[in-house]
Point group: C2
Chain length 297, copies 2
C-alpha cells in the first residue's frame, strides 16, 4: 500500500464577516453576518484529496480549539490522516479574520497561533509531500528530508527568508506559483522562471481566471478554467492543487493532472468556504468529461 | 429583602487584537496578540455591582456560546442573578472585534447576534433598572413598565429611533450621558441639557479624564477622576455607573455616589478588560478614603 500524500501547512479557522464598511482607524461598524469556516491551505488540500478518494495526511500545528471547534471531527469524517498533527496545548489554532463590504472590498487579519510553534517541531521525512503556505524553517527541514517535494509558497512567501526559500526550491520537484510569486521569488533569489523550469521538473503557473500553464519536459501546456457560476473564489487554488497532486501521484500525464485540478477548483468557487463543496471522484469525473472529454483511467 | 438592581443590555464577548497595522480595503496584516474577554456594558455593570457586594440581575439576550465560552460560569461565580436572561438557541452571543495598532489606533466591528432578538422578547416590569446601551424597542418597553429607571444610551444611541428615545427619556429618573450623547439627544429630540435637567431628577454628564458633573435638585456637583496609572480606558464608564447606581440605591447622597463611581472606574482602567480588575467594597472604600476622606456609612 502506498504511503499517503502528506500536506504541510495551516489548518485554520476562517472567520468570515460581512460588514457595512471596512473600518478605518477609530471607526466602528456593525457586522451584518458572520460565519466560522474550516480553512487553511494545507487542510483544504488534504480534505479535498480525501473527498476525492485519495489518501492524505495533514502535517500541521493545531491548538486546543481544533477539537472544540469541530474541525478535528470534520477532517476525521472525511478520512484525512491526522496522525502527524502537532497538538500545541494552551495555544489557539491558526485563524483568519476576513471582513468584506457590500462592494466586495476585503480587509483581513491573520493569526499564526499554533503554526508559530512549527520552528520548534521535529520535521518528518516523507515520501511524497506538498508544502502548502506555512512556516519557512519547518518547510525547509521537511524539504531536505523528504523524497518527492511539491511546493506552493503562496501568501506566506513574504515571511520566508532567502535562505529557507533557496533550501526549499533546491529540493523541489513540483512547483506551484502565481505570477506575483514567480516575480517575488526572482527578487529574493535571483532565479527567473526559466531558471526554475531548468531545475524543477514540473512548474505550474496559475493565472486566476485565465487558467494555468504547466511547464514540464520542455513542454508548455495551457489549461483553461472550468467555467461555473462563481460565488467565492477562495479555495479555488487549493482545489486545483488537490486534484493535480492526487492525479500526479497516480501517474496521470501532467495535462490530465491540470485538467483534473481545474475541475476540482470549479467546485470550490461554487460555494462560500474552502471545504464546503468538495467533489467526490465521480462528481469530478462527470464534470471533467463534460469539459475535456473522456478521462483516461 | 430588596429586589436586585436590574441591568438591561449586552453581555458580549470582546475579541481584542493587537495588529501591526489597521487593514484598509484589500490589505491583510498579521495579528501579534489576541485575547477574548468578557464584556458588554450591561454585563460589565452587573458584574462590578456583584463584586462590590450588591445584588445585581442581568437582563440580556445570550447565545449558545454564553455557556461554552465560560461567560455564564464567570458571572455565576461573581453572584450575578442570571434568572432573567433570554437564551437564544442557535444564535451566537453579541460580540465586538477590536483591532489596535502600535499607535493605539483602533478599528472595531460589532456583531449584534443574540441581542438582535430583543425586539421579540417580552419586557419585564422591574423595580429599579439601569438601561445600558441596548436595543431601543426593548429598552423602551422596559422603561414604560418599570418603577425607577436609570438610562445610559451610550454607543447604541445611533441606532435608536426618535420615538423610542423619547419614550425612554419620558420614563427616566436618572440619566448618564457624555457631552456627545447630550448633543445627539438634542439633535434627535430637540431636548437640550436644560430640558433634560428639568424633567429628569438626576442627570450625570461624564467627561472622560475631566471627571463628571451631576445635576440634581438644582445643584451642579463636580466629581473629579481618581487618578491611577491607566492601562486601558475601556470599561471605566461601566465601573462608574456600577458604583454610582449601587450607592444611589443604598441612599447615599449623589455626591458620594459620584465619588464611589469614580473610585470604581479607577480600578477598571488599571487593567485590560472590563471584568478583570473589579474591586470589592473594601477595596473601593480604601481607595475612596485615600482620595475623598471618610466614606459615610
Amino acid at each position: 500500500m502506498s504511503s499517503p500524500i502528506d500536506v504541510v501547512g495551516h489548518a485554520a479557522l476562517d472567520y468570515l464577516f460581512e460588514v457595512e464598511h471596512i473600518a478605518s482607524p477609530n471607526e466602528s461598524y456593525p457586522i451584518t453576518s458572520y460565519e466560522v469556516l474550516f480553512g487553511g491551505g494545507a487542510a483544504n488540500i488534504a480534505a479535498a484529496m480525501a473527498q476525492l478518494g485519495g489518501k492524505s495526511r495533514l502535517v500541521a500545528a493545531v491548538g486546543d480549539d481544533f477539537s472544540t471547534s469541530g474541525y478535528e471531527k470534520h477532517l476525521n469524517s472525511l478520512g484525512v490522516d491526522l496522525s502527524l498533527l502537532y497538538h500545541i496545548e494552551g495555544e489557539e489554532s491558526t485563524k483568519a479574520f476576513v471582513y468584506t463590504d457590500p462592494n466586495h472590498n476585503q480587509s483581513s487579519y491573520f493569526y499564526w497561533g499554533s503554526s508559530s510553534k512549527l520552528p520548534d517541531m521535529e520535521a518528518p521525512a516523507l515520501d511524497f509531500v506538498h508544502l502548502a503556505p506555512s512556516e519557512a524553517s519547518f518547510s525547509a527541514r521537511v524539504a531536505q528530508k523528504s523524497k518527492f517535494v511539491s511546493f506552493d509558497p503562496g501568501q506566506d512567501l513574504v515571511t520566508y527568508s532567502k535562505e529557507h526559500l533557496v533550501t526549499i526550491l533546491d529540493n523541489t520537484d513540483l512547483l506551484f506559483a502565481n505570477i506575483h510569486e514567480v516575480k517575488r521569488v526572482k527578487e529574493m533569489t535571483g532565479k527567473s522562471l526559466n531558471d526554475l523550469k531548468k531545475s524543477i521538473s514540473t512548474v505550474v503557473v496559475t493565472c486566476d481566471s485565465s487558467g494555468s500553464k504547466i511547464y514540464s519536459k520542455n513542454e508548455k501546456i495551457d489549461i483553461p478554467i472550468v467555467a461555473v457560476k462563481a460565488v467565492d473564489p477562495t479555495g479555488a487554488g487549493d482545489g486545483y492543487r488537490a486534484g493535480f497532486l492526487l492525479a500526479f501521484r497516480e501517474g496521470f500525464p501532467v495535462e490530465v493532472c491540470g485538467k483534473i485540478g481545474a475541475t476540482v477548483a470549479s467546485f470550490e468557487v461554487e460555494c462560500v468556504g474552502c471545504q464546503t463543496n468538495l467533489p467526490s471522484w465521480n462528481d469530478m469525473k462527470k464534470r471533467y468529461e463534460e469539459n475535456f472529454g473522456v478521462l483516461p483511467l
